[in-house]
Every structure is written in structure tokens, then in C-alpha cells.
């Protein structure tokens, strides 16, 4: 496993920011996850926030001497440890790309000069990696979007993007876990729940997991929505 040159910075009174080189890649993500697991095993923290090339460690108390904490972290990073790799799951997310949901699909098809079917294929044939969860509870930052589908955010964001909207923003794609404002191009809708406080695990996916989208019909969307509402739909990872 490559060891990167990391930067450690004190961040306010009770946090330390660790940064990797400025790149979005699976290799950096693997290294971040490996280090995060070691940190979890050895240090008690209030919160750990992962970014594309960073980990923000939020301590439970005010840090008196950040240099001490940083020395400990640096040693920990270099420690050869049989990392008990946490199992990464692969989740298949049903998405209905019908124009009823995919309100920007036709516009995108014109811009890209390819049919809506081709766009759907490009979007659903890719294996995406979950980099981290941010923006909204349960919003997954996914890496791996096919470059043909890169598409700038809308100049004026929509005030109401519906819950479950599957969208493309810049070089990213994602699913809005709840109704929110947003400027991404909407191409479909997923009936499943990405964030549910009633569940023991409110968000099924985690950093490092894999995601693929599966195209479903309007009817299937309706059926799954009903099952989700009746608490009869359970997400199962494929291995």
C-alpha cells in the first residue's frame, strides 16, 4: 500500500485535519479508509469526517497540545498493521429513468448529442465508489462518472429537487436523499430510502462501498415505493 506524504493541520480548538495530495482517486480513498480504520481502533473521537482527500478528526475535548496529537497520528499512519479491512459492500440501486422523473434527460440528450437511452446506459453501466457522505444526511459522494456525462450545474438551482432524484452535477452523480434545493441535472428517481432515522443504521452505505444503478420501469418504481413505505423493502448488498 502506498504511503503518501500527508499534511497535518490544527483546525480550531478541538479538531485536526489530515490531507492527502489533491486528487480524487481510488488509491487515495483506499489509503484514507485504511488510516481511518487504524484511527478508529486507537483514538476516541467525537466525529470523523472524510472528504475526497482528507480526514477531519473532531476530538471530544479541547486539544491542549495539537503537536502531541499530530506526533501520535504520524506514528499511527506509518505503523504496519494488519488492517482488518472492513468489508466493502456493493449495492444495486434501482432507478427509474422515465421522463416523468428525468426532467433534464431530454436537455442532456440534446447537449451530448446522444439518445436518452445511451445516457441511461452510460449512467447505469458504471461501477461507482462511495467516497464519503456529506451535503445532506445520507447524500453519497460518488466517484466514477463516465466523462461523456460530465455536465455543469444549472445556473439557477431548483428550489425543490424531489426526494430520490438521481442527478449529475459537474463530474459527479448522486441521489438526493430528501427534498432539497439543488442545481444538479435530474435524470431519474430512485424509490429507495437513503436516510431513515427509524432504522438502526440510518444510511446503509459507507465510504469505500460500491454502487451500481439498475434501470427499472415506472411500474417497478411504484411497487418498490409501496414496499418502502410499508417497511417491506430491505436493501441487500451483492458481494
Amino acid at each position: 500500500m502506498p504511503n503518501y506524504i500527508l499534511s497535518y493541520k490544527s483546525f480550531g480548538e478541538n479538531a485536526i485535519l489530515i490531507e492527502w495530495p489533491k486528487e480524487i482517486s481510488d488509491a487515495v480513498l483506499q489509503d484514507i479508509v485504511g488510516f481511518k480504520n487504524k484511527i478508529h481502533k486507537n483514538i476516541k473521537l467525537q466525529d470523523v469526517i472524510i472528504g475526497y482527500n482528507s480526514i477531519l478528526l473532531v476530538y471530544e475535548f479541547v486539544i491542549e497540545k495539537s503537536e502531541h496529537k499530530i506526533v501520535i497520528l504520524k506514528k499511527l499512519y506509518l505503523q504496519k498493521e494488519k488492517s482488518e479491512s472492513v468489508l466493502d459492500h456493493h449495492w444495486v440501486i434501482p432507478v427509474c429513468y422515465d421522463l416523468e422523473f428525468g426532467m433534464d434527460l431530454e436537455q442532456l440528450s440534446k447537449e451530448k448529442k446522444c439518445s436518452t437511452n445511451e445516457i441511461i446506459q452510460l449512467h447505469s453501466q458504471t461501477m461507482y465508489t462511495v467516497f464519503f457522505v456529506g451535503f445532506l444526511p445520507g447524500f453519497l459522494y460518488l466517484g466514477g462518472l463516465n466523462s461523456i456525462l460530465y455536465s455543469p450545474r444549472k445556473a439557477t438551482p431548483r428550489l425543490r429537487v424531489p426526494k430520490g432524484a438521481v442527478a449529475i452535477g459537474g463530474e459527479q452523480t448522486g441521489v438526493y436523499p430528501n427534498q432539497s434545493s439543488g442545481g444538479w441535472n435530474i435524470i431519474g428517481n430512485s424509490p429507495i430510502s437513503f436516510f431513515d432515522v427509524e432504522k438502526e443504521v440510518p444510511c446503509f452505505a459507507k465510504t469505500g462501498d460500491k454502487i451500481t444503478f439498475k434501470s427499472i420501469s415506472l411500474n417497478e418504481h411504484k411497487e418498490i415505493t409501496e414496499a418502502v413505505n410499508n417497511n417491506e423493502y430491505k436493501m441487500q448488498p451483492v458481494l
Binding site: D47, I49, I50, G134, L136, K206
Partner: protein
């Protein structure tokens, strides 16, 4: 029970926040001015994390359906029980069917109402704090009934009262540390941050405070990375946003400063048109 007769402008239930769920994108939330909220719980001998009502800009009318003791801390909006002025920062007895109202603003923005034993709201993800999509409510509304405990038997007379440091409300100094992207700023830009006062824009709420005066901005966006309450972001327009308790857990704008915890509390008592001055710790 406390019945909401008038909901005022923005009244919510808050404790010290929802910690430990940032990895699934859940904001910390919690009381904006933790200094004032903790003081109320302290005077009532409550656990410091007990939930309180955070009342921004007064205006609420609350009817008590129990005999209990309460304490009002933070902003002074001339509180009254059944029309009679009561003291701030003091333990106050209140009887069944009496109402608390607020009037003229004397200082501050956010008042905290703590009650004996704490507000008994549903705990979701280890916190009673209101937040959209997580708690059942976002703000308390007219007709809502908020559960609280009855003070039984010992109605021992209590005279607990404390004088608060008025600088908590009056100072314009906001103490801060350098943020992760501070060193990317030019010397001129750095000097702009500390050289003059900034005015709080009317875009200020529990998520963040935007400041009116832009500074020169030549920085590119960063790769999305963690942010915290108190993080000062430099937006593409050059305007600064100070993130507050309900902020997202990640962001893509350069983080030029990090406001100290105590100064987040002080800032929470300021609003539109108030002036602040960043002071480097």
C-alpha cells in the same frame, strides 16, 4: 406540558447537539449560544445537556400546565409571567396555567428557557435537537405541547441568580484561528480579514451568517472536505460565510478562518447589521 400559545419567530428545542453522526452527513445542531444555555441548566441543577427552548427574537407565548421552576438566559426580551416582569438568569417559580411572554428587546438575539429536569422531547440519533428530516419538527408551532416534568413536593425556595458578563452580548471581537486555507491567501487578503469590521448581512440563521463586505478572492474551490460550526468560508463572490450549528458536514469553499467556540456563542447573540471584528488568537 408547556403549550405554545404564540410561536413567535423561531423557537426550537435544542440540547448540546447530535454528535457522532457526521460520517452519515448529519449536522451537529444544538443550541447556538452554548454558554447561555448551559448557564440555565446549571442554575436549575440540570445536566448541562438537558434540552432547552431556544427562542430567537422573543415573541413567543408559552402556557405552563405544571408547577415547576424555570430559568431564562441569553438574550433579554423583557420576559413576563402573567404580565409581571421577571428576572433573567434567575431561578423562577411558575405555577400551573401561568404564561410566559416576551416584550421589548434589551440585548441579544437568542433567549434560552430551561425547565426543571429538561424539556422531554424525543431523542433521535442521541439528541433532542430539532433539525429538518431528523426531528419531528423544525420549529415549535402554535398549539404544540412540549412535555416537561412537574416539580413535586419540595417547593424549596430558591434564590439562585447570577450576574452575566455583558461583554458576551456587546463585544464585537470574534476570536479565531487560521483556517486550513488561510496560508493560500495573499498578505493583502489576510490583512483585509483583520483590518476592518464586517457587517452581518440579513442572510443569517442557524446554518450560517453571511457578511456584507467582500474581500478579494483569487482562491479556487477546494476538493470537498470537512467543515465545522465556526468555519469561515470564502465564497466565489468574495463574501465570507461563518458556518453555525446547523451547517453541513462538508464543503467546497476555502476555509480561511475557524472561529473559537466561545466566539460562536457570542456571534449567536448578534444579527443583521451588527458589526464584528475578527481577532486572531
Amino acid at each position: 406540558m408547556i403549550t405554545v400559545l404564540n410561536q413567535g419567530i423561531y423557537c426550537s428545542i435544542q440540547d448540546l447537539g447530535r454528535k457522532g453522526f457526521a460520517n452519515i452527513g448529519v449536522p451537529i445542531s444544538g443550541v447556538m449560544d452554548a454558554t447561555s444555555a448551559k448557564l440555565g441548566n446549571q442554575l436549575l441543577n440540570n445536566d448541562l445537556n438537558e434540552a432547552v427552548l431556544e427562542i430567537a427574537f422573543g415573541g413567543v407565548e408559552l402556557q405552563f400546565d405544571e408547577d415547576t421552576i424555570v430559568c431564562l438566559t441569553g438574550a433579554d426580551f423583557s420576559p413576563k409571567i402573567n404580565g409581571i416582569r421577571i428576572e433573567m438568569n434567575a431561578v423562577i417559580k411558575i405555577k400551573k396555567s401561568q404564561t410566559i411572554t416576551f416584550g421589548k428587546r434589551n440585548y441579544g438575539v437568542r433567549t434560552y428557557l430551561s425547565v426543571f429536569g429538561g424539556i422531554q422531547a424525543k431523542e433521535i440519533l442521541s439528541s433532542k435537537s430539532f433539525y429538518k428530516e431528523i426531528s419531528e419538527g423544525i420549529i415549535l408551532q402554535k398549539g404544540d405541547a412540549v412535555p416537561c416534568k412537574t416539580l413535586k413536593g419540595q417547593t424549596k425556595q430558591t434564590y439562585s441568580k447570577i450576574k452575566v458578563d455583558e461583554r458576551h452580548f456587546s463585544t464585537n471581537g470574534i476570536r479565531c484561528f487560521k483556517g486550513p486555507e488561510f496560508e493560500l491567501l495573499t498578505k493583502t487578503q489576510q490583512a483585509q480579514l483583520f483590518g476592518a469590521e464586517f457587517i452581518i448581512s440579513n442572510d443569517n440563521n442557524r446554518v450560517g451568517y453571511q457578511l456584507n463586505e467582500p474581500i478579494e478572492n483569487t482562491l479556487k474551490p477546494i476538493l470537498t472536505s470537512g467543515v465545522l460550526p465556526g468555519t469561515v468560508q470564502l465564497t466565489p463572490s468574495g463574501k465570507l460565510i461563518i458556518l453555525m450549528r446547523d451547517c453541513q458536514v462538508t464543503g467546497g469553499y476555502p476555509r480561511v478562518l475557524q472561529v473559537s467556540e466561545e466566539s460562536i456563542n457570542r456571534l449567536s447573540q448578534k444579527t443583521t447589521h451588527d458589526k464584528i471584528l475578527f481577532v486572531l488568537k
